[in-house]
Amino acid sequence: MSSNCIDLSGVAKRFGRTEAVRDLDLQVPSGSLCGFLGPNGAGKSTTIRMIMSIIRPDVGSLRVLDGDALDHKDRIGYLPEERGVYRKMKVGDYLRYIGRLKGVESARLPKIIDDALERIELPGVARKRCEELSKGMQQKVQFLAAIIHEPELIILDEPFSGLDPVNAMLLNDLIRELHDQGRTILFSTHVLHQAERMCDRIVMIDRGRKVLDDRLDRIRERFDPRTVVVEPLGDPTTLESMLRATPEVESVMIDSEDRLHARLRDLADADRIMARAIEHGPLRSVGRAKTTLDEVFIGLVERPGDSGAAGETTEPIHA
């Protein structure tokens, strides 16, 4: 098997006059935990549905687990964005049914289901009808249905939508556990801090086109804001004057909490600027500003006419 679990090349899909996905190349390495990000309507779900062979691309090649997803359904776990349950079915029956469809032996299913329900903190609901569960509980049951057959590739479309913070944290832990077990996970979300907290790789698309595809650490490096944040103990104005007088500092801004944000010129030595700030006076804290995915995202998906965004380009950026 190649090192990529998912390999898309030049994939495009059009619905009527709408280009949902345009010339998309996407590789998800085996064992990675990849966040698939983009604004609403960017083409995330369409791409995922093409990966799952639920819909076919108009052009381009698409390989999942070195073949067609249809041939490997039992090796893939999929949680669709549009998901539901058979309302009248009992939870245990529903999970057994999906498990059987995904090729799990009947004899193994009762134990798998009991253990899994225990793990998602829903013990004893197997005999309840799905309609008796709250929406959040149903979401967790749907997640279980997606992974009940212990797949090697897991694709989750907006897995956190509709979950309260406690259950979102539980799901976060479950995804991490699955990743630690060596499974490849691709999940889409527009809640960027979730992806930032979990993923080792990020793919961003906008209007059907890929705008970012790289490891998270390299994204942080590439989108380093080159900004030093200093929080003085006293009056910030003297420190501001000092920083403004420093030739390597391009601009200085004071925020509402009296912290100074000094944006550095290219090739400036941030360590030296921080050392000078420490010498200048007593500080509560000093450090480099960290790029957030929100900033990268806003920058990359900037629309014509938008202002104040951090991004420089909307061209695809490849690793």
Binding site: R49, M52, I54, I55, L70, K73, D74, I76, Y78, P80, E82, R83, G84, V85, Y86, R87, K88, M89, Y97, I98, R100, L101, K102, G103, Q142, A145, A146
Partner: protein, 459 residues
């Protein structure tokens, strides 16, 4: 791989069957209720007979002629001595029901006979008001079950009487049941007519025999030239029964298929299922699962029909060949309806939207009803032959022909109809699978019929 696919289809089929047929509402509505109703229909006369108290007691008859009371007693004795099943059989025959075992006739006769107990009449010549009041008082005290005042003109009615005859008056205690009231009225009317004949010096038995309408034994010439007995008017009902069996079994299951497909779409569970199986596996699983449901309905209603025919000793109306052909056309009918319903269910999001596409299904539903009478009347006529070759109504038309044919249907017609039916099913299942594949994931506005055609053509 094939085993895996078949296993998944079987899993889907079993879920569909289990969640449709093994539910309390289905078992009660489609199985238990018809069985209870069928059993009740056969057992009701016996139950009624066992429940009703026989009429018994003495009737006081005020009759100045003195002729009424002996005739009344003779009539009651005659009826008590008579085996009522002969009369019941005659009634059955007139209705066109050939009750060869006599089970139903006996039940009816028993139910009828049960009303006759020891009833006697005591005549009183005097019709003065004092006597009548005395008799009424005794009736209130329970001495008489009724007091009848029969005016003399009712007995000696002149043949050319222009004036209306005075009514017979009947006084009954408040507690007399409606059934016993009818019985007494009937006895008094019959006894009055009989007394008139006796009074006129006629032989009542002879007149009654002369007025009896003759029964006719119809026979038809078979292929070997020997005249066979006409089986009964059930000849007309059997094809209707065949068609209705098919109709109920296929449309009930077809409706379940439609609603289950729409439910999966509206519950948004469809994409979860499609992540495990292909759309064609899902389609086949659903169709086969509901085929089992259809079979349960067919066996329930068909079993009841066969039980009724067995009770009437009319099983010679059916043969194994007829039943085998009926199964073939049941399968053609089911797959025709199922593929249409699956395609419609996958294309729409709500049951109300499905109405737009139901027109072709309605045609298949209504046409067989309209064709029943002409096909049963002339199963070898042009209309019958053409409609039994015309998709998609051919299975319904052909079972009606099979049920009503007095001559065996030519084998080439049966085979041609089967071939056309199978080809229709193959075409419809193919088209349904194309529509299903696209429609099942489609949300929003339902497609137009033209869009459906485009989905079918899409590769």
């Amino acid at each position: 791989m094939l085993d895996g696919n078949l296993g998944k289809i079987a899993t889907i089929a079993w879920r569909e069957f289990r969640h449709t047929a093994l539910t309390k509402s289905f078992l009660f509505g489609a199985v238990i209720l018809p069985v209870l109703m069928g059993s009740g229909f056969l057992l009701l006369p016996l139950l009624l007979a066992s429940q009703s108290e026989p009429l018994g007691g003495a009737v006081a008859v005020v009759d100045p002629t003195g002729r009424f009371a002996p005739t009344f007693d003779a009539l009651v004795n005659e009826r008590m001595a008579r085996d009522g099943s002969a009369e019941a059989e005659d009634v059955m025959k007139r209705l066109g029901i050939d009750d060869k075992t006599g089970i139903i006739s006996q039940s009816i006769a028993q139910a009828g006979d049960a009303d006759y107990g020891e009833v006697t009449a005591t005549g009183f010549d005097s019709d003065d008001p004092g006597t009548i009041e005395q008799l009424k008082a005794e009736a209130r005290d329970g001495t008489w079950i009724a007091v009848a005042i029969v005016p003399t003109p009712q007995i000696e009615a002149p043949a050319d009487s222009e004036e209306g005859l005075p009514d017979i008056e009947l006084f009954l205690p408040r507690s007399t049941s409606p059934g016993h009231t009818n019985e007494l009225e009937g006895l008094i009317r019959s006894a009055t007519v009989r007394t008139r004949f006796i009074a006129a010096g006629e032989d009542f038995e002879q007149v009654q025999t002369m007025l009896d309408r003759p029964s006719i034994d119809v026979r038809r010439f078979g292929e070997d030239g020997v005249a066979d007995a006409e089986e009964s008017k059930l000849r007309m009902i059997v094809p209707f029964g065949f068609m209705m069996l098919l109709w109920i079994a296929t449309f009930t299951a077809g409706n379940f298929l439609l609603t289950s497909t729409i439910e999966e779409k509206s519950n948004k569970v469809i994409e979860v299922v499609l992540s495990a199986v292909g759309p064609l596996q899902l389609l086949w699983g659903k169709i086969l699962g509901l085929a089992l449901v259809s079979l349960v309905i067919l066996l329930t209603y068909g079993g009841l029909a066969i039980a009724a025919l067995t009770a009437l000793a009319l099983t010679d109306l059916l043969s194994w060949t007829t039943l085998a052909w009926a199964i073939v056309f049941f399968l053609i009918a089911y797959f025709t309806i199922a593929s249409l319903m699956a395609a419609i269910g996958s294309a729409v999001n709500e049951l109300s939207e499905a109405q737009t596409f139901m027109a072709p299904v309605m045609i298949v539903m209504i046409l067989p009803m309209l064709l029943w009478a002409p096909i049963a009347e002339n199963p070898d006529g042009t209309l019958a032959v053409v409609s039994s070759m015309l998709p998609p109504i051919l299975p319904f038309a052909m079972v009606m022909r099979i049920g009503s044919a007095t001559e065996p249907i030519p084998i080439w017609q049966m085979l041609l109809s089967t071939g056309l039916g199978i080809a229709t099913v193959a075409g419809l299942v193919w088209a349904a699978s194309r529509i299903f594949r696209v429609g099942i994931l489609m949300q929003g506005k339902p497609p137009s019929p033209l869009e459906l055609l485009r989905w079918i053509r899409q590769t």
